[in-house]
């Protein structure tokens, strides 16, 4: 068993809805994300997948519980310590979250300019290497609005990799992309992970495809969490909500193929 990069210990998070009722998104969940592996977090809409990512990044506070990252509880730290913990993460946001007023070059250079003391010459060299690595050479002067969705994701990934994170978080990385672009992003993901060896957490609706990349799968459902050491194990689950999820998310054909195997 690999060492845990992230550990959730009895984490609770709830929201008060518009009608005054309380929705328990995470109801005392416990799980570990193994270091150097790929964990996929799946589940229906509004089940707390993105909330889980935000809790890991401390963009949101837990109601109770601990989230241990490399030995530090991120729910308790503040200021410089929190900043230092965050530099271990790279994030590819759903919409890439590029800065509209900055060019591709400036977007990729941003973490290097703000978080390192490298000279402009060194930054320029590193950004040029990243542009080549992510097949963006020639587009460095363009602005995000001039790029396709797939290119925006590649710029977002290039930017996220600049500080060599040990943990990469992908929030719906292929949302809004066509099948060709989706395949391209997954190839890029596999290549980048092989190169950098980071721990990755992918939140995705694109279940059949993303399961091919997974070492571990977590399915969220009404505050509960089911963990599967291998994606294939999902088909053997006796739980009704997992069966329903497999049926809906993977489709009848994929499900029958799994059963045949």
């Amino acid at each position: 068993m690999s060492m845990a990069a992230i550990e959730f210990k009895d984490v609770k998070k709830s929201f008060v809805k518009g009608d005054g009722t309380v929705q328990h998104v995470l109801d005392g969940v416990n799980f570990s994300i193994p270091s150097g592996k790929t964990t996929v977090i799946a589940g229906g809409s509004g089940q707390g997948k993105s909330v889980t990512l935000k809790l890991i990044l401390r963009l949101m506070d837990v109601d109770s519980g601990q989230i241990i990252i490399d030995g530090d509880d991120i729910t308790r730290v503040r200021g410089k310590k929190l900043e230092s913990l965050r530099t271990r993460f790279g994030v590819l946001f759903q919409g890439a979250a590029l800065f509209d007023s900055l060019s591709v070059f400036e977007n990729i250079a941003l973490p290097l300019r703000e978080r390192t003391s490298k000279s402009e010459q060194e930054i320029s060299q590193l950004v040029s290497e990243s542009l080549a690595q992510f097949e963006l050479t020639g587009h460095e002067g363009k602005y995000p609005a001039q790029l396709s969705g797939g290119m925006q994701k590649r710029v977002g990934l290039a930017r996220a990799m600049q500080l060599h994170p040990s943990i990469m978080l992908f929030d719906e990385p292929t949302t809004g992309l066509d099948p060709v672009m989706t395949r391209e992003i997954y190839h890029l993901f596999a290549r980048t992970q092989a190169l950098f060896g980071f721990t990755s957490i992918i939140v995705s609706h694109d279940i059949p495809k993303v399961f091919n990349l997974a070492d571990q799968v977590i399915i969220l459902d009404r505050g509960r969490m089911d963990i599967f050491a291998r994606p294939e194990e999902i088909q053997w689950s006796e739980k009704e909500h997992i069966k329903d999820f497999v049926k809906t998310a993977m489709g009848e054909i994929y499900q029958s193929r799994l059963v045949e195997k």
Partner: protein
């Protein structure tokens, strides 16, 4: 939605208190961002240009028309008592102590405050602010505090320009159009405006600058937490309108309070 009116009132009270607390902490974070290094001088200059230079046209025309209207109205009222020689005094005191700071702040809230709110709101809903946090880049130091400092410098300077143009407008209307003696207009102004009046105008313009940038940036930054704002682009448009309305009301309320305390 809870149908009990008492519960609804309690919910609203809690929401207002939470919002006030959130906004107070936000102001604290802005002030902390001002002192964090490295300071983004280029962003600061760009904001001075956007808020200050960009608002010159609207400030110029508002000041000119306000000054001219004051000149005409003042002449009409003072002439009834044979006191049209006091026109310079009336126009300059009204502009320096009252209308200059208030109208400048309202114009900046409408032009630059709304833009700041919308920009931050869009950055929030498109996760750009989250991206900065994730890269361990303080969003306050990076782009909110430079806006704050730029507004703090631009609004008092624009107020001075407003006062000067307004007084010139009053001169054109009173002296050139209505025939008041130029000497009495200038004399009335220089003899009645004291340092205290100028300080009052300057203090007001600083306070209004803080209110405008704080409320407009805060509404944009917390766009997803504002009750009834909705989602996506709609939330940004609603919150932008709310920011301009709230900051305008705050300017008018504080105008009265400062006048009551310092006059």
């Amino acid at each position: 939605m809870n149908s009990n009116p008492l519960a609804r009132l309690g919910n609203t009270g809690l929401y207002v208190l939470t919002d006030l607390g959130r906004m107070t902490l936000f102001l604290g974070m802005i002030l902390r961002g001002v002192f964090r290094r490295p300071f983004r001088f280029r962003e600061f200059l760009q904001q001075i240009h956007f808020i200050g230079v960009g608002s010159l046209t609207v400030i110029f025309f508002t000041a000119l028309s306000t000054g001219m209207v004051l000149g005409l109205q003042g002449y009409y009222s003072l002439n009834k008592f044979g006191a049209d020689g006091m026109l310079g005094s009336a126009v300059s005191l009204t502009l320096i102590m009252e209308l200059g700071p208030v109208l400048t702040a309202l114009m900046v809230a409408g032009r630059a405050g709304s833009a700041m709110c919308a920009e931050l709101g869009i950055m929030r809903i498109s996760e750009q602010i989250d991206a900065l946090d994730c890269m361990a880049i303080d969003p306050f130091r990076y782009f909110i505090s430079p806006k704050f400092l730029a507004t703090l410098i631009a609004i008092p300077l624009l107020t001075v320009i407003f006062d000067v143009v307004g007084i010139a407008g009053g001169y054109i209307a009173g002296v050139k159009l209505m025939g008041v003696s130029p000497g009495s207009y200038i004399q009335g102004m220089t003899s009645s405006v004291t340092n205290h009046d100028i300080y009052l105008g300057v203090i007001k313009s600083f306070v209004f600058a803080v209110l405008v940038v704080w409320i407009c940036c805060g509404r944009g930054y917390f766009v997803q937490r504002i009750r009834g704002a909705g989602f996506g682009a709609e939330s940004v448009s609603r919150v932008t309108t709310q920011a301009v309305v709230l900051s305008s009301i705050a300017v008018l309320v504080f105008d009265y309070l400062i006048t009551a305390v310092l006059l």
